[in-house]
Amino acid sequence: MISLKGQVLETLLSGGFICKTTDELSYQFLQNTENFADVEQQLNLMNRTITATSDEQVYFCAYQVIGDGERRAVAQQFRDVSSSLLPLVEWLVLVQEAKGDNSPLNEGKVVRLNELQSVIEDTPAFSEQLSKIARYNLFNSTSSAVDAQLKLVFKRLVDLGYLLKPNPDNQIYLATGKIDYLFEVIRFIDDSENLQLAEQAEEAIKQGDLL
């Protein structure tokens, strides 16, 4: 049997994200400073290190020193992240609006596919938005039915690690810490490129109010 430490190492080395929702035991394990240092030492052997998002909700594996080969890998990862940013953001907005929530999805939140589907099917604006999202390369759906589009999108998101399906028989999904990672990425881009995204949104809402 694999030990908890082995499990943590395996997840990190296979490019996985560790958060409370995906693997609570591993997450608790890393919360312990001693264990953390231990795992870190093992990873350092392979020029790797543990990184966490700023609020320490998600752990993942990063390079310790970035040489030419590592830079290529990092560039590839970055291309993947940046190309999937817009589809994912649009999906998050759709889910938030369809659920009528005050806040977007974050780690541990529950999404019930059936509820979402009935809302989207009843609201033409939502279904239009969904078919736009599903056509992105990230999801690459060719179907025109809401049901098939939604299932494909959710399946892809589970594959990519943004969602978790605790029970294979139920269409109930949990958002993982990778979603929080996504927010961090957007926040980072916003800050470093000075896009003032929040102000833009507020401005647009105000203008909408005036109209």
Partner: protein, 405 residues
């Protein structure tokens, strides 16, 4: 006097019970539709102080005392007022204490007892109202201001609760226990009420309030975070709509890659199976038993397809004559031509054949046996040899002699 008060109170409560429908309707909708009800009933309720008319042209409304009674009892979320007028209540307490002390001084014990009762009621009432205010705050915190929809409204509600909380803390500062202790003097009863009881409640409530305050600030932070996240998402979508050619700057090319984008590649691949591992034998057997045999007919379609074939007579096959056969034929011919007997070994020597002698003799016997019966009749074969020295019944042929009949 208390008898008449008792009767009046019971009558009032009975009236409330009797007209509970109207009262609840007024409580829920805020006003009473006068056309729906009997004018005499409404008049009676106005007389009892349950309903009132704020302006001549306005509808009838519920009196605030009845409303707050219901709100308190039903733990209604709409009740967001905190009654924190501690100052006036403290003043009332001090006044009654003076009455009590004066009565005691004049040795008017019956009167002093009434004042004591009144004082107890006032003190407990004060404590109760403070406690219910704290409960009210907590109730709102617990359901995260669920009674309002938008996140902005929640933030406003949170701010209201915080300002109320600050007010309450200010009011609590009005408790001056040294003054209360002075007033209580040496009276045991008064000290118990004014100092011990009030002090305990005071510390309890201020502790609760400080926890509530930190919780409120937490919640406010959470709401702001939600709001910020929603705005980030919407802002990003808007930004991409307004600038369709927007590309995220390539942070991976920077000299120092931001920690967020420094993601190591996955290096672990599934391990291979070890068929020699006895522990895994059961598992492998299980996997194998679940394998489905899939036969792909790719590539050998021609073999599986139908073939045409001839049903004609098989052509005569010419067995290619080898050297041995040719030599055997030559030997036979020589016997026929000469008409003399000739042993196989003599022929072998005459022609200095390279064949092995034994092989040659076999070849000759074979050649003779291979002839048809009719042809065999033309020849006579004699074998020369000896009996095996050990195993009887075995005859070892050393030479063959062939002649014509």
């Amino acid at each position: 006097m208390s008898q008449s008060l008792h009767i009046a109170g019971v009558k009032f409560l009975k009236a409330l019970a009797k007209h509970s429908d109207i009262i609840m309707q007024a409580y829920l909708s805020g006003r009473v539709n006068e056309l729906d009800h009997n004018a005499a009933t409404l008049d009676k309720l106005i007389e009892l102080g349950v309903l009132w008319r704020p302006e001549p042209s306005e509808d009838l409304r519920l009196r605030s005392s009845i409303r707050s009674l219901l709100e308190n009892n039903l733990r209604d979320e709409r009740n967001r007022q905190l009654d924190a007028n501690v100052g006036s209540k403290l003043a009332a307490i001090k006044t009654i204490t003076s009455h009590y002390k004066e009565a005691l001084h004049h040795q008017n014990y019956t009167e002093s007892e009434v004042y004591m009762e009144d004082l107890t009621e006032q003190v407990y009432g004060l404590v109760d109202s403070l406690k219910s205010n704290v409960r009210n705050l907590w109730r709102r915190i617990h359901n995260e201001f669920g009674y309002v929809g938008s996140i902005n409204a929640k933030i406003r509600e949170n701010e209201l609760a915080q300002s109320q909380l600050t007010d309450m803390r200010k009011q609590l500062e009005m408790f001056q226990f040294d003054e209360l202790a002075d007033i209580a003097g040496s009276s045991r009863e008064l000290r118990r009420l004014l100092v011990v009881h009030l002090q305990r409640c005071h510390s309890e409530i201020s502790q609760e309030l400080s926890i509530a305050q930190s919780k409120l600030i937490d919640l406010l932070g959470k709401f702001r975070e939600y709001l910020h996240r929603s705005q980030l998402l919407k802002g990003f979508v808007l930004h991409c709509q307004q600038k369709p050619d927007y590309q995220v700057k390539n942070y991976a090319e920077l000299n120092t890659v931001p920690a967020l984008f420094n993601q190591a590649q996955a290096i672990l691949k599934p391990a291979s199976i070890d068929v020699n591992n006895i522990e895994h034998e059961g598992l492998f057997a299980d996997i194998v038993s679940h394998l489905k045999q899939v036969r792909h007919s790719k590539g050998n379609k021609n073999e599986r397809g139908s073939q045409s074939f001839n049903v004609n007579d098989i052509e005569q096959v010419d067995i290619e004559s080898d050297e041995l056969k040719l030599t055997v034929e030559q030997y036979f011919c020589q016997v026929i031509d000469s008409g003399n007997r000739l042993s196989a070994l003599e022929f072998h020597q005459q022609h200095e054949l390279e064949l092995d002698q034994e092989e040659w003799i076999y070849g000759v016997i074979n050649g003779f046996q291979g002839l048809s019966l009719e042809e065999q009749d033309f020849f006579e074969v004699g074998t020369s040899g000896h009996v095996h020295p050990l195993f009887n019944g075995n005859y070892i042929i050393e030479d063959v002699e062939l002649g014509l009949r």
